[in-house]
Amino acid sequence: MAGATGYGAHGDAPSFFKRWFASCNHKDIGTLYLIFGILSGLIGGYLSFMMRLELGEPGFQYFANPHTFNMYVSMHGLLMIFFLVMPSLIGGFGNWFVPLMIGAPDMAFPRMNNFSFWLLPTALFFLLLSMFVPGNPSGDGFAGSWVMYPPLSTSGHSGPAFDFVIIGLLAAGFSSIFGAINFITTILNMRAPGMTMHKMPLFAWGVLVTAFLLLLALPVLAAALFMLMTDRSIGTGFFDAAKGGDPVMFQHLFWFFGHPEVYIMILPAFGIVSHIISTFSRKPIFGYLGMAYAMVSIGVVGFVVWAHHMFTVGMDVDLKAYFLGATLVIAVPTGIKIFSWLATMWGGSIRFSLPMQWALAFIFLFVVGGVTGVYLANAGLDTAVHDTYFVVAHFHYVLSMGAVFGLFAGFTYWFGKMSGYLYNKWLAGLHFWLFFIGVNLVFFPQHFLGMQGMPRRYVDYPEAYTLWNQVSTFGAMITMLGVLVFLIWVIEAFIVKRKAGDNYWGEGANTLEWTLPSPPRYHEFNTLPRIK
């Protein structure tokens, strides 16, 4: 990504191979993560597009084998979560901007940082390979959804496809664990002189909390994956009722990881959005401490609500009541964040540049997804809508519109900083509007489908669900157009090479990265900045 004024010009960047395959530089590694994220996003997006096309009409359109459809659903979920959102938000932006924002010359363990990255192509390779090896007698690939519940994932998938998925996820998991160790150490140990925790930018806070969630949640998933592996291959009985085990136990282990995981995907986006709102309102963040500690409490409470994904497994009713209540609690810190963003804008002098548009859309659409989450938390109602498209609508509002909008917000915000070039405003704006309209058309009608009772992971549905599925598929087509325009504007920016200044957003952008050239030099902060 080096422009003419980029680090290449300073003569201390290494040769191509050393630079991209042996890198110990947080910016280069961040770039690798972003490229990787875009690649996975395209594959995951392709899978979802095929799913939507299939569901555009009742009957089998494109998938003659329902197993293959289920495999697409599973791989879509896994790729989007583990290979698009996590690498881009945490690996990409985290690597690029956490050190710059806290005034550190690099990450704490630069070599381990690169190790975290290089585990991912391996992991992705295993996941993609799994799609072409036998899953079970019904067909190739693993078709047991991203939640991988046994017995479907043990006795139900006799072929090696799922073994590859397990290995891939273990590799991705360890990548994230090492990344988390790196971020925590960097943030706790390498802040510039004078930058106390309470002066640290909110994005760094978001990544810090995220890193703790990763550190504490992923090992439990690793244990669960090992159990699946031994259940499959050496005959242990963890999840096998005939041996005294219980499939529900896997769900507990999985969601103990899985619920923190959803906050792992949103907290860095919260951080990014905070900076953007403040920049384009030209106002300091309102209630900074409240914002930081709201993220901390979301992280903490996030560990004790996992079984709200399991309201229909036949849990004890008192336990359900507990998980119901605990889940509702999370709405409070999240509300603090929403209202603090609005208060940051209040009294500001607001410019509607593109990152701000993404951020504003993020706030509103995240609230829509958040309140449907609160709806789902009511165990009694969840009975009616669990495992229907209502849930699909909920989590795409917080993911495909929350996390992904946060991703695009950050990408447009920092694109010039990272590449040294400005994007074409018109093209990038078109991308925004196509995406905004597209995803809303895809996912809003899914609330209706869910209420009407259409179950998830269905390749074919009764005609009574046709209308809203058509609308949804129509929206997916618009979204795909948006993805295309996204690629076009990125490529265009690199071809046309409009130079970006050091601080191209002007006055409101006041974190440390805006004091540096665009793109920053190969090594920044050889002299540590002092924060007053």
């Binding site: 555009g56 009957g59 089998f60 359109q61 003659a64 084998n65 329902p66 197993h67 079970n136 019904s138 078709a143 519940y149 479907l152 139900g156 009722a241 499939p247 300091p284 209630g287 900074y288 409240g290 229909t312 497994v313 036949g314 009713v317 009541a321 209540g325 509702l328 409070v332 509300g335 603090i336 929403i338 209202f339 804008m345 500001g348 002098s349 607001i350 504003l360 509103f364 609230v367 309140v371 609160v374 709806y375 009511n378 165990a379 009694g380 109602l381 009975t383 009407q452 009772g453 259409m454 179950p455 998830r456 992971r457 390749v459 074919d460 009764p462 009574a464 046709t466 598929t473 129509f474």
Partner: protein, 312 residues
């Protein structure tokens, strides 16, 4: 190729029609195209779900609208042109306390009816009838432990084989074409006879109306979930466990109800529906006396209409 029909927006008329009729016509069962709410409730539990749902949809809608209106107002009032000099306020303890406490209060108020509903659903009353539903790959097997003379029976979807759903040159059959094939079968094979495709089975669960029916759910292999939207029940079928739920269909609501397997269970997850035939106690007794035979004639039902129970 189905692109064209999607682009044509085939259902636009249906959309306008359905938005104007938010309430259901009496007696309509199963999903309805273009609807945006729950299916018609026929048990007290589902009625309470609908009640809480209405409450919550309004509340959630109000929160969204509140945030949206506030945001749009701020965007307008404090746009660069209107407010060129930004303020530097970054604290206001009062407002921060308010926006912490108000959500807490809202949630407390919400939790009360929610927990009430939860206990109403989950605390199972004395059963008038107990049935056992076992999930297989891929069909439901029902048994009536209270009645020795009724054998357990398997309830299969009325469908053609998956690989028959495409012609030799790979063209997909539409639902209507599949339905035509099914209904052209000889009379002693299961047919749809007007029942919805993908929901109808060859052997429905038969239960009496206005009686507490406890369903014990388990599975022989993969996970499944026994769900009937109009009854407000959904419970996972898990090997090694017997889960329970119950329903009591309101008096006068005899008819056929549909549900679908609601936990991913493999290739035919979308093809193991649940069909429940709710009949009067008299009819039910006759059915039992007949040994659960699906040749029983239900045409004497008060509600009348097509009550084909399907074939054994």
């Amino acid at each position: 190729m189905r692109f064209s029909s999607v682009l044509k927006f085939g259902g636009l008329t249906a959309l306008t029609a359905s938005l104007s009729t938010l309430a259901y016509a009496e007696g309509v069962n199963g999903p309805v195209d273009g609807e945006i709410g729950f299916q018609r409730a026929v048990t007290p539990v589902m009625e309470s779900i609908v009640d809480l749902n209405v409450w919550l949809v309004w509340l959630m809608g109000a929160i969204c609208v509140f945030v949206l209106v506030l945001m749009v107002y701020i965007m307008f009032r404090f746009r660069e042109k209107a407010n060129p000099v930004p303020s530097k306020t970054s604290h206001n303890t009062t407002i921060e306390i308010i926006w912490t406490l108000v959500p807490v209060l809202i949630l407390l108020v919400m939790a009360v009816p929610s927990i009430k509903l939860l206990y109403a659903q989950d605390v199972i009353p004395e059963a008038d009838l107990t049935i056992k539903a076992t999930g297989n790959t891929w069909n439901w097997e029902y048994s009536y432990p209270d009645y020795e003379n009724v054998d357990s029976f398997v309830s299969n979807i009325v469908d053609i084989e998956i690989d028959e759903k495409r012609t030799a040159d790979g063209e997909a059959l539409s639902h209507q074409e599949i339905i035509n094939i099914i209904d052209a079968r000889p009379a002693d094979e299961p047919r749809l006879d007007g029942r919805p495709y993908l929901l109808a089975t060859d052997a429905p669960l038969v239960v009496p109306v206005n009686k507490t029916v406890v369903v014990q759910v388990t599975s022989n292999n993969n996970l499944h979930a026994f769900a009937v939207p109009q009854f407000g029940i959904k419970i996972d079928a898990i090997p090694g466990r017997i889960n329970q739920t119950y329903f009591k269909v309101n008096a006068g609501e005899e008819g056929t109800y549909y549900g679908q397997c609601s936990e991913l269970c493999g290739i035919k997850h979308a093809f193991m529906p649940i069909e429940v035939q709710v009949v009067s106690q008299v009819e039910f007794d006759r059915w039992i006396a007949n040994g659960g035979s699906f040749d029983t004639d239900f045409s004497q039902n008060e509600t009348g209409g097509s009550q084909t129970a399907g074939m054994k």
